[in-house]
């Protein structure tokens, strides 16, 4: 589900779970492990990429609707651990957003260091509310960190998806390049950081990301309980099942 390629000191983790790079419990666990173990393997920076046209469609709703309460609870715990691993990574991480990046597909890049996206007709954004899920507070906090309070409120409450042009204008991504340049540009950005004096870059990075350390210093027990409760709420379950039925009919 993850294709690992070492480009010198920069390791690329390519999400590769057809057809939509949706996040299954297995992919979440695998990505968390890959992020956490990269520095021990000698990687000095990471690039997380998708496949052309698709970065990630977010949580694999179709699969998750078949899981029971303990499995859903484990998935959320692991997702939070993945976000923590991204946010507190000792090495820089660039997201190479190679296409659609909806819901969880936008959540992962929020906690990375840099976001390169492809020009094109892709959709980005946190549409959780549209599918009946309140945006978890930690994710809102990461969103607000990039966009400021005003834009984060507007987009999150409306569950809005936006085009790459708007995403770069409001700061959801850092730069746009052509689709075939997204990964190479993310690699180049990473190499740029690695060419800097090592300790000065690392210390400044810790300083600039100290708010993320504070954010993840909290205990998430209560928040996770709330996230699980709303997952099993009638509104969320109904909305998610309607969505899945509609997607199934579309395919048929």
């Amino acid at each position: 589900m993850i294709r690992t390629t070492d480009h010198g000191a920069v390791r690329e983790l390519q999400l590769n779970r057809p057809p939509a790079n949706a996040l299954s419990p297995d992919l979440i666990a695998a990505l968390r492990h890959a992020v956490e173990s990269a520095p021990q393997d000698g990687a000095r920076a990471l690039v997380i990429s998708g496949v052309p046209g698709r970065f990630s469609a977010g949580l694999d709703i179709l699969l998750l609707l078949t899981l029971d309460r303990p499995a859903i609870a484990a998935m959320w715990r692991d997702l939070y651990a993945l976000l923590r691993a991204l946010a507190l990574s000792p090495i820089p991480i660039a997201a190479a957003i190679t296409g659609h990046a909806t819901a969880g597909g936008t959540v992962l890049p929020l906690f990375c260091d840099y976001r390169v996206a492809a020009h094109g007709e892709w959709k980005l954004g946190l549409n959780e509310v549209q599918v009946g899920l309140p945006l978890p507070p930690i994710i809102f906090a990461g969103f607000r960190r990039l966009l400021g309070t005003h834009q984060a409120e507007r987009l999150a409450v409306g569950g809005l998806l936006i085009a790459p042009d708007e995403a770069v204008r409001i700061g959801l991504v850092d730069e746009l390049v052509s689709l075939d340049q997204v990964v190479s540009r993310a690699l180049e950005w990473s190499r740029g950081l690695l060419a800097l004096p090592v300790d000065a870059m690392a210390a400044t990075r810790r300083s600039a990301r100290s708010d993320l350390f504070e954010l993840f210093a909290a205990s998430f027990d209560m928040e996770l309980e709330q996230v699980n409760t709303t997952w099993w709420s009638p509104e969320a379950q109904t909305t998610l099942r309607v969505l899945v039925d509609r997607l199934a009919r579309k395919k048929a």
Copy 2:
């Protein structure tokens, strides 16, 4: 002074106090009551609008200069209660800024959920300093919440009024439409939120506006005492009276 129209589940509160929609103690009290009672009446969203060319000129200085200390103190207490009602409203509020929105006319939209303004030669902004009044800290906090520290400092300290184009560029308003579309666009935005899964939208909205809850959790006794003291200061009284005389001569 307020024309109430129910457009389905969205209630429009149109400020209608000729000639300038200036905020009198009565209008402040009436608007507060209208905002607070709307949810009990079954409204699921609010639009606060003005008249064509005039959203609100802010506090009715001409009237306020005739009031004694207890009446001024009551007015400020009520204005803070109105801002609190807007900020903590259980239902979303859009401001339909139909023209000039100076001082208090910009303050009200700060605490709403969304701001649609009309293209045109209108003035928006917090020009309190120009008329001798320090910007009350709670209002500065709402201003900074939308614009960020940098722009909020620049505009508030200078007491600057700006055009709609600049207002949308820096985030003081969310979108610009033609004057005849302002109210309908605000209604449309409200209906868009109401079409979303109810609990998910409400929970995300609470999360995105939790900083406003913290802001208004404070006691404002000391701040109100300060606001009253400066109202009665020689500088404020002199500047306000010069302003009122100039306006009177203009009319004559």
Copy 3:
């Protein structure tokens, strides 16, 4: 090293230490003294300017590399005191950025009230990381205050220098004018503030800058110890010496 000119109530402090307006311990001490004593001398606003083409090149590395530990420690203590004097100044300060403003040359304007820069091929930004110095946390805090967390992280971690056009777009400076207008525009901006009702402007300014007061209320003993430790680190010393050698060869 500082040319003082009183333009009515606005005092201009022109940095004048050829060839690059680099910050020596003496210039830092002199500028701190000039900023702190201006209000007692009757100045009601300050403009800090450079020479045409050069605002300031930041710390005078060539000179600092000749100093011992006590002298370096005294320099950092004085630089922090200068930043504090700028941030907490009882009178407004405009920076007239007349050309290149790198590292310390960008640090000073961060803590001023307003920044006018010249159109042109100048470089601005905090390139400390490029020369082996982690960006001190207080400086990052001032940077983030102007730019927001996202842009501040991107620029500080990469040690990036940017052109005036980008600087004004992201909020590092407030406006761009032609080089021969920079000082006069900064004076005009200052006079604009002084034409406002005095107490209202001052109180609003305190409110808008209260976060700077909180920032500088901290004790900086530990931070200064850290800043000194990294100055003497092998990485910083090596990188700085390579830089100085390269500059020396360039001249020869």
